[in-house]
Each structure stands twice: as C-alpha cells, then as structure tokens.
C-alpha cells in the first residue's frame, strides 16, 4: 500500500512541472501578465485544435506533411542503407576514400540548398521531398558504413567457421550487428527531416503543418498558430517515440539499447 502511494507521489512530481507550465500558460495571458494577443491562453489554443480537428483540415495538413516526410525518408533509407552496406562491407577502401566527401555533404546546410532544389525541381512536391531526402540520406549513409565496419570480425569469422554461407552471415551477423548504429543515423535523419519539412512548407506550400503556421502568422490568427506549433511538437515526439519502439523491438537481442 505504501509503495503504491509512493509511486503515485513520484508520478505526481514527474507531471507536476508540465501541469504548472500549462496552468501558467492559461493564467498569464488572462491576467495580462503577457499580451493575450500574442500569446493566447491554452484553452483558446486547444479550442483552435478542436476546431481544426472538427472540420477535418487538421488531418489534411498532418497527412500532407507526413506523406512528404515519409516518402523522402523512406527513399533515403532505401538508398542509403544498401549503399552503406555495399560501401562498408564490399568496398572498404572506396568507402574510406569517400568519407571526407560524405562528411562535407552532410555538413552542407540543407536550408541553403533549398533555392537550388527549387531551381531544379520547381516549387512542387518534388522539391520538398528531395530536400527531405537530402537531409536524411547523409546521416543514414554515414552511420551505416560505420556500423558495418564496426561489426566484430570475430563474429564473422566464427560464423564462417561453423559453415554459414554469405547470405546467412549477412542477415544473421552483419545486419543485426550494424543495426544499432544504423538506428542512430535513422533517428538523426528523422529529426533533421521533420525540421526541414516544416521549414520547406513555410517557404512554399499550399498545405501541410508548416503552411498552416505560415498562413496563421500572415493572417495573425494566433490561436491557430500555436495550435499548429503544438501539433508539430507532438508529432515530432510521436515519431521519435515510434522509432524508439521500433528499435527496441528489432534489437531485442541487445540488453539495453541506449536511450539518449
């Protein structure tokens, strides 16, 4: 019984910060401590979320944003992971050669490339998807190469000595061995991709959460602006959480995958 109370108290302490923060957000604009025109109270923001959800437009924007990031993200993984395996596993010398180049590419500010992407692909979907693709591919490729090269050679040798063929070694030894590192890259890529997506949508789009933010700002509809911002934050956290979940399930052989 006492343990139960204690754990409940622990939970209360853990959530109390968030609760107080939300309460302050509600009270401060109402009392005029901050300008309610610029920072609307939480209830109004939630009302705006409800309104957007009720007429369905919120889901259209979420779907538009998710679709773009998903296509770019999946394409990048589909290219980067096999390319990383081939470079890291089959051509280690070539991958050592390419390393500085990949580093430079990863360093290039994706935002400054945006105008060039628009020049190439127009202002349509392709430009946005390709900017997501670009910002995801480098971290994933880089970590895949590192992951493959860091698989303990002893594992590969011992698998070979038991008579495992090449495919078995790949699917049973190298792939699981490299997976944790690859996941770090995928998580980095996902957060980059989401950040870039919102930026891209703010600059030029006709739907999506970034567009919603931009449109609300231009039309000075503050509750909707905050509603969109909250939705984006919430969506980002959900994606992050899903990736953790996926990682935990795929890497269940690892005793505790690091939570960083």
């Amino acid at each position: 019984m006492k343990d139960h109370v204690n754990s409940l108290a622990d939970k209360l302490i853990d959530v109390s910060g968030i609760v107080i923060f939300f309460l302050l957000w509600e009270i401060a604009p109402r009392l005029g401590i901050v300008d309610g025109q610029f920072i609307p109270p939480l209830s109004q923001v939630l009302l705006a979320v409800g309104k957007l959800a009720a007429d369905g437009s919120l889901f259209i924007h979420i779907a538009a944003s998710l679709q773009r990031s998903f296509i770019g993200f999946v394409l990048a993984i589909a290219v980067a992971v096999p390319a990383g395996f081939i470079l890291g596993g089959v051509f280690p010398a070539l991958s050592r050669q390419l390393r500085p180049l990949l580093r430079v590419f990863g360093q290039i500010n994706a935002f400054s490339l945006f105008p060039i992407f628009i020049l190439f692909f127009g202002i349509g979907e392709v430009a946005k998807v390709s900017i997501i693709f670009w910002s995801t591919i480098w971290p994933v490729l880089f970590t895949t190469i590192v992951g493959v090269q860091n698989v303990d050679p002893l594992y590969i040798k011992s698998a070979r000595s038991i008579g495992a063929d090449k495919f078995t070694i790949f699917s049973k030894v190298i792939l699981p061995g490299a997976a944790p590192v690859i996941f770090t890259g995928i998580r980095t890529g996902a957060s980059h991709a989401f950040l870039m997506l919102i930026a891209a949508e703010m600059i030029g789009a006709s739907a999506g959460l970034g567009w919603l933010v931009q449109n609300s700002a231009v039309n000075n509809i503050m509750p909707r602006l905050f509603a969109a911002t909250m939705t984006i934050a919430f969506l980002g956290m959900t994606i992050n959480y899903l990736l953790y979940l996926l990682e935990d399930n795929l890497l269940d052989w690892k005793q505790s995958s690091e939570r960083g």
């Binding site: 853990d14 910060g17 290039i108 935002f111 400054s112 105008p115 970034g210 602006l225 969109a228």
Partner: protein, 281 residues
C-alpha cells in the same frame, strides 16, 4: 646487405636529412591528396559536367566560376561584411544562452534536485518545439529586427546546453566527490577541481550540438527576413537569379560550419584532455 648497412650508417650520420625531409614532405602531400581524392574527383566532375552540358550551366555553375565569384565578393568586402553580420548574431545568441544555461544547469542539477525533476519534462517539451514554427511568434514579440533573430538563436541554443549540463552534473561519480571531500577539499575547490571537469564533456556536447543548430537556424532566419548576412545573401542571389553567388554563399556557410565544428573539437581536446576519446561523440 652492404647497402642496408650503408643506409643505416648514412642515416645515423645525418647525411641525408635534407633529402629525407623533402621525401617526407612529398609523402605527406601524397597522403593528403590520396585522402581527399574523392573531393578532388567530385570537384573535377562538377567542373566538367556544366561545361560539357551534362547539366544546364544556368542551374549549376562550375567551381571555377564560383571561386572567381567568391574572390570578387571577398575583394569587394561584401562577403566579409555578411560573414561578420551572421557570425555576430550567432555568437551573441550562443554566448547569451551558454552564460544563462550553464550556471542554471548547475543549480538545477546540483542543488535543487526536486525542482529539477519537476522542471525537466517542461524543458524537454520546450526543446522539442520546432524552432521554425516559433519564428512567427518571435517576430510578433520582438519585431523583424536584430532582437528577434538573436532571441531565436538564444532559444535554440538554450535547451541542448541546459539539458546536457543537468545530465552531466547528475552523472558525476559520487565516489569522486566523496573522496575529494574526505581529503579535505570543499567549496570552490571541489567545484572547480572535481565537479566542473567531470561535467565538462557533457557541457561540451551540449555546446557543440547547439552551435550547429544555431548556425542552421540563423541561416533560415536570415533567409526569411533580414537585410544582411549570409542567409540574406543566398535569398537575394536566388531572387535575382545570380546562381554563382548562390553557390558561393552556400560554400561559405558550409566552410564556416565545418570550421566551427573543428574549433569545438580542438577546444574539447584541450579542455577534456583527461578523457581518452573526447571526440568520440
């Protein structure tokens, strides 16, 4: 056999040192060229492709033209001005965030543990908010001038530094503190000799993360609304269709980013020399 012996003798006598030096230098140059072969080949293809017509030259300018544009910008002082403006904004916001976040992190993580526990979820939530979507709010609150850009940088730098400092101070080995205390070390000396060095890897990690995010955000902020700075240079070049300038600015930004990264690695090595692999993040 004899020649080998001769070589040893000659080496000992230092006769060939001049030649060896030249040889070593040559080897070093070869090694550097070999290491950056991929970059050299890439630049070579980049130069040839637009000139031969594989890609339209109006969209992708060859590196020679970009370099000459870069040189023009440099000589006329325009580039230096924009770099100065951008760096000024970034450094100001970054330093403000570090000055606030590091002491605050120490206080929260070291002394007010319960408060820290209550506050951490809020800090995480705020750090998770996409800074781009806050940009309109910052503009509304602070106008479109310098303040909104600097406060934007401040905002994105604050969270990584704060959260990492808190994590760092919470993870300081109790044994280190206890043993220092049992040797009669206390107060300021304990802080500066034990706690601060033990926390510094985490703090550095936070500083590094936030510096790269800061630079990223700065360029975005300048592209959205500014009248100077590297981001503005890109935006302006795009609207006026001056592709070489666009590429020149992009390259400058990447070079600055790489340079800052390098600077942090060096600083880290210097400050965290007690750690075996400081740059292994």
């Amino acid at each position: 056999m004899e020649t080998a012996l001769q070589k040893v003798v000659e080496k000992r006598s230092g006769k060939h040192s001049e030649q060896d030096k030249v040889g070593m230098l040559l080897n070093k140059i070869i090694a550097i060229v070999y290491d950056s072969l991929s970059i050299i080949i890439f630049i070579g293809i980049w130069e040839i492709a637009p000139r031969v017509g594989w890609v339209p030259q109006t969209f992708i300018s060859p590196p020679t033209i970009i370099v000459s544009t870069l040189w023009e910008l440099l000589v006329s002082g325009i580039l230096i001005k924009h770099i100065g403006v951008s760096l000024g904004r970034a450094v100001f916001g970054f330093v403000c965030a570090a000055v606030l976040a590091i002491p605050l992190g120490f206080f929260l993580g070291g002394w007010f543990k319960l408060f820290e526990r209550i506050l951490t979820p809020v800090l995480r939530l705020l750090g998770e908010v996409n800074p781009f979507s806050l940009f309109p709010i910052f503009i509304l609150l602070f106008g479109i001038g310098e303040v909104s850009k600097i406060s934007m940088i401040f905002w994105v730098c604050l969270w990584p530094i704060l959260l990492n400092t808190i994590t760092g101070i919470k993870n300081v080995d109790e044994l280190l503190i206890k043993s220092a205390r049992s040797m009669g070390v206390g107060g300021g000396r304990l802080f500066f000799k034990v706690i601060l060095p033990a926390t510094s890897p985490n703090i550095f990690h936070g500083l590094k993360t936030s510096s790269s995010v800061a630079f990223f955000m700065l360029i975005a902020a300048e592209m959205i609304g500014a009248s100077s700075g590297l981001g503005w240079l890109i935006w302006n070049a795009q609207t006026n269709y001056q592709i070489p300038i666009l590429f020149a600015a992009t390259i400058t930004i990447s070079a600055l980013g790489l340079f800052m990264n390098y600077l942090f690695v060096i600083l880290e090595r210097k400050f965290i020399s007690w750690k075996e692999n400081p740059a292994e993040y």
